[in-house]
């Protein structure tokens, strides 16, 4: 490996308010060198503000941003040495593809011949070799996206910021680009901070995900742990499919109605009561009527919806209402599906029993 080129990013106590709205509410976050970190949140959550603060385009009210051991809080954007990919791509329409990609090199005084070689090499990395002489308006959306990427990495920045770079692409291309970006990250020696509101995209690409809500970071975790062990109802609800039921928590155990739930997961503390989060694909269907003990529920099949890769079974429970269960298509074939009106049991395993507070403390 090269000698530790990528940099850490240390954000501490970052604040920014627009009038009475807190866009960034005392945000602190440490990003390791070479990490792919995603800022995930709904629109207006402050994730883009945070990214723009990193880039230097938003001036925070206070706080600290350090790249490696250098304080960057008042450094102008062009001296921060980062590559950035914009949602609109922000390609320069009056330049060719090669001129676009060579722009950062030109600024850095790289010789004309080197500019050409390095721009072409960057274009090859994003599989656009030979496109250098094209005009920007001759490119498709996906190609523009790649040019923007090549331009942001051609000068080998230690940090690359991306602001919803795939949101303008159609679903298929977006999923393809996600895999490619992830592969590219492994090739590049750079820390990547990526902003998106698409939880699936975040889960696919990231080393870690920071969930942003109301200008605060709710949780920072690896995709799997974030999915399996959300710390708050917001995170549980925002990531993945789920239904939730109110529960009461006392002395480290949770109760659904009269029933004491068994959970292997720690119950996070917070305010505003707790909820049981049930993910449709983590429930197990058992045929026939089963006694309602511990985590097991039972109910009538209300409807069955075929969705190609899986089957969604909507179960009507006597007291808690409708519960969705997702059964993978192949498994549905093995166990045989219940029919409408039939009474079935639903097993929620203790290791999948997620109980979260309404709000983080």
């Amino acid at each position: 490996m090269f000698a530790n080129k990528s940099q850490t990013i240390d954000i501490s106590n970052l604040c920014k308010s627009y009038g009475s709205v807190n866009a960034l509410d005392d945000v602190s976050l440490n990003i390791s060198a070479g990490e792919f970190l995603t800022l995930l949140g709904p629109s207006g959550s402050g994730k883009t503000t945070l990214l723009m603060a990193l880039a230097g385009f938003v001036r925070p009210d206070g706080g600290s941003i350090r790249f490696g051991d250098r304080e960057m809080i008042t450094t102008p954007p062009h001296k921060r040495g980062l590559g950035m990919v914009f949602q609109s791509y922000a390609l320069f329409p009056f330049m060719t593809v090669a001129e676009n990609v060579a722009y950062p090199l030109k600024i850095r005084g790289v010789s004309k011949s080197d500019q050409k070689i390095r721009a072409e090499r960057a274009l090859e990395t994003v599989e656009l070799g030979g496109y250098g002489n094209r005009r920007i308006n001759q490119l498709s959306g996906g190609q523009k996206q790649r040019v923007a990427l090549a331009r942001a990495m051609v000068f080998e920045p230690q940090i690359i910021l991306m602001d919803e770079p795939l949101s303008a692409l159609d679903k298929k291309l977006r999923e393809h680009m996600q895999i490619e970006l992830k592969a590219l990250h492994q090739k590049l020696d750079a820390t990547i901070v990526y902003v998106t509101h698409d939880q699936r995209e975040a889960l696919t690409m990231s080393d870690r995900i920071a969930v942003v809500n109301h200008g605060r970071i709710e949780q920072v975790e690896t995709p799997e742990r974030l999915y399996r062990q959300p710390h708050s109802f917001f995170v549980a609800d925002f990531i993945g499919e789920s239904i939730s039921l109110p529960v009461t928590v006392a002395k480290g155990t949770a109760q659904l109605g009269e029933r004491v739930l068994k959970s292997d997961l720690p119950i996070a503390l917070g305010s505003g009561g707790h909820r049981l989060v049930v993910r449709p694909e983590l429930l197990e269907v058992t045929p026939g009527d089963v006694p309602e003990t511990a985590n097991d529920l039972s109910g009538y099949v209300h409807d069955i919806i075929y969705q190609g890769d899986s089957v969604l079974v909507i179960v009507q429970h006597d007291s808690v209402g409708q519960i969705n269960v997702r059964v993978p298509a192949n498994r549905a074939g093995q166990i045989g599906l219940p029919s409408k009106g039939e009474r079935i049991g639903l097993a929620l395993h203790p290791e999948d029993t997620i109980i979260v507070p309404e709000h983080i403390s």
Partner: protein, 267 residues
């Protein structure tokens, strides 16, 4: 049935009125061109014979020529000063906070709606104190001030249509603000800047009221001389001058359109 017939009559009536109004607008504008080529001793329309005598009378008159020269110098200088100042001002306001921007914008638009006679009298009295009346500098400064709003408004609307992320992108890629402005933003709002320059040029060239009070002597502009001449009698030479003025305005307009459309090919 009846309604369809009524609609047809309405439509015809509208077409007739529409063409009549367009005719009313365009005819007096273009009529000076045939008049200027007339051969008779007096104003005639339609002219009975063709000649260039009125152009000869225009181009051989020392007074008219000097006034033309003054007007062109003033218009070029006004354009040269007002365009960069206005464009920079527009950029500065565009980047400022909304509150500053809106206040400044209202201020900048004001000269467009203040009756020009008041500006003229005001400038005249100011120049009387400074000794700037009848000087080239004086006219250029006055024309610059009234041309600036046109440049600022045009460039600001150009900036509003421009994807400002591009400048941010350039800066994130290592360009200082000034470099990003010059290499990325300016080429793309070029068309607005050119339009602003054209407006400044035409505003100065066609300006009458301020020139009438502030210019004079050997620095009289062509509009001042035309105005004074038209007060006395209808000299057909004016038709020749008018034709030249129209040609210069349309020429400048075509220049801007041509340069602009060349810039737009890249878009």
């Amino acid at each position: 049935m009846e309604q369809v017939g009524q609609r047809k009559i309405d439509g015809m009536w509208l077409t007739v009125v529409g063409f009549a109004v367009l005719f009313f607008l365009i005819l007096p504008t273009l009529i000076v061109i045939p008049i200027s080529f007339g051969g008779g001793d007096f104003l005639e329309f339609p002219p009975n014979s063709f000649s260039l005598r009125w152009y000869e009378s225009y181009f051989s008159s020392i007074e008219w020529m000097s006034a033309t020269k003054i007007s062109l110098i003033v218009a070029v200088m006004t354009t040269a000063i007002a365009t960069p100042l206005g464009a920079l001002c527009a950029y500065g306001l565009h980047c400022s906070t909304p509150r500053i921007r809106n206040t400044a914008q209202a201020f900048v638009i004001m000269p467009l709606v203040v009756p020009v006679i008041l500006t003229a009298v005001g400038v005249f009295s100011l120049y009387a104190k400074l000794g700037l009346n009848y000087t080239l500098t004086g006219i250029v400064i006055a024309h610059t001030a009234i041309a600036l709003p046109f440049v600022i408004v045009t460039v600001m609307s150009g900036l509003q249509n421009y994807d400002f992320d591009q400048e941010l992108a350039a800066r994130s890629l290592g360009a200082s603000r000034a470099f990003a402005l010059w290499t990325i933003t300016v080429p793309q709002v070029k068309f607005s800047i050119q339009t602003g320059a054209f407006l400044a040029f035409v505003t100065s060239l066609d300006e009458v009221v301020i020139s009438m009070l502030v210019s004079g002597g050997e620095n009289a502009t062509i509009t001042r001389r035309m105005f004074n001449s038209m007060r006395d009698h209808l000299d057909p030479t004016i038709a020749a001058i008018s034709t030249c003025l129209i040609a210069v305005s349309i020429g400048a307009l075509i220049c801007v359109r041509f340069l602009g459309s060349r810039g737009e090919v890249n878009e």
